[in-house]
């Protein structure tokens, strides 16, 4: 029996684990088969305080994990497949085991949202990607498209210009959601061009990506573009489906009540699985800390 079971191993989950273990709580962190969260798919992180020169996303996560292990958290790299929050103690199931905890912190984050158009899914890894830092070098001197209009689309595009000949950002709206700083960075890059009010409706190509079909969202005109790759950065889907009985909003983000409580007493939430407002490494870590302190306080109130 654990005092706290934390589900997820991004900045929120790992920070929560650091706080709970340091408070002397018996803490289990179920990290997921792919641990580390979205920062594992990034390069340089320049806005995490304490690293004046910046730090590589995967290095930051490896450090956080080391710090968590140092304080004595038990970490298992498995996915959670089901939960029972209907009675105490709470039950969290993986493929092979089930674990019992008095309190649970959900910090499962969010995953890439794909375009969901014909021709896409079978070409993931064959020209379709969601990770420019991982795959950009394969597009040396090639033409690529980035789909999206937020910060991550701008960042993907900038990373790609180190290798690609030309990068086209395709966005279905007339203006970007990205921060001014990121927009300015992308706009100042001579290799990046923009195609606004345009939606990708199909990915073309047999064995690999050879082009896309696009539609003008204003006049409905359709045309085909030749390209070697499509990087998808249109947002994220919260990983909340496995938690039965936990209240979510219409997009699947877990609803937090006051002080990071969910609708079930003793179950707390932190990070991108609930936060669609800030979505920063440092806010996720902060929310993880808050949820851990709340869980601690709640456990104390139960005795």
């Amino acid at each position: 029996m654990y005092d706290v079971i934390i589900i997820g191993s991004g900045p929120a989950g790992l920070t929560a684990a650091i706080y709970n273990t340091r408070a002397g709580l018996k803490t289990l962190l179920l990290a997921g088969a792919k641990w580390g969260g979205q920062l594992m798919l990034t390069t340089e992180v320049e806005n995490f305080p304490g690293f004046p020169e910046g730090i590589q996303g995967p290095d930051l996560m490896a450090n956080m994990r080391k710090q968590t292990e140092h304080h004595g958290a038990e970490i298992i790299d498995v996915n959670v497949i089901a939960t029972d929050f209907g009675k105490q103690p709470f039950v969290v199931k993986t493929d092979e085991q089930q674990y019992e905890g008095k309190a649970v912190i959900i910090a499962t984050g969010a995953d890439t949202k794909w375009l969901g158009v014909p021709g896409e899914s079978e070409k993931i890894g064959r020209g379709i990607s969601s990770c420019a830092p991982c795959d950009a070098p394969f597009f040396r001197d090639k033409d690529v498209i980035v789909a999206g209009g937020g910060d991550s689309a701008m960042e993907e595009a900038c990373v790609l210009t180190r290798f690609a000949k030309q990068v086209t950002i395709i966005h279905r709206r007339g203006e970007f959601r990205a921060s001014q700083a990121m927009q300015d960075k992308a706009k100042a890059n001579p290799k990046i061009t923009f195609m606004m009010n345009t939606q990708i409706t199909q990915v073309l190509g047999e064995m690999k990506v050879s082009g896309v079909k696009v539609k003008d969202t204003i006049n409905g005109e359709e045309k085909e573009l030749v390209t070697d790759g499509v990087f998808v950065a249109i947002g994220h889907i919260p990983n909340s489906t496995v938690f039965k009985g936990i209240e979510v909003d219409e997009k699947g983000f877990i609803k937090a009540r006051e002080h990071f409580h969910t609708n079930i007493e003793g179950v707390f939430v932190a990070g991108d699985v609930y936060d669609h407002q800030y979505m920063q490494a440092v806010t996720a870590a902060g929310f993880g800390c808050a949820a851990a302190l709340e869980a601690e306080r709640w456990l104390e109130s139960q005795t």
Partner: protein
């Protein structure tokens, strides 16, 4: 047996002409998620010693092999049997999912 390092010059002999099935981890130093896969590959090499050859191929240093199999996204883990690629997964996966893939090819 530890994991093996494949290169363009050894690929034919070590992978394609191997008597045992082979699992190849296509990776590069600049790839963050590849770092999640590397330790798993090393464990799998030990666990399946004698049944399966498990190794890594650096795509920067060995563009020929990576190009031949159309690798455009890493980490990609590809299984070879009798000189042919029979299965592959793109993106970092958990150990269980690699084991599942291995058990399918070992039959």
């Amino acid at each position: 047996m530890a994991d093996v390092t494949f290169t363009d010059s050894t690929f034919k002999q070590q992978v394609l002409e191997s008597k045992l099935p082979v699992l190849v981890d296509f990776w590069a130093v600049w790839c963050g998620p590849c770092r999640m896969v590397s330790p798993i590959i090393e464990e799998l090499a030990k666990e399946y010693a004698g049944k399966l050859v498990v190794g890594k191929l650096n795509v920067d240093e060995n563009p020929q092999a990576a190009g031949q199999y159309g690798i455009m996204s890493i980490p990609t883990v590809m299984a070879f049997k009798d000189g042919k690629p029979v299965k592959s997964t793109v993106g970092a996966q958990g150990k269980e999912s690699y084991k599942k893939m291995i058990n399918e090819i070992l039959g």
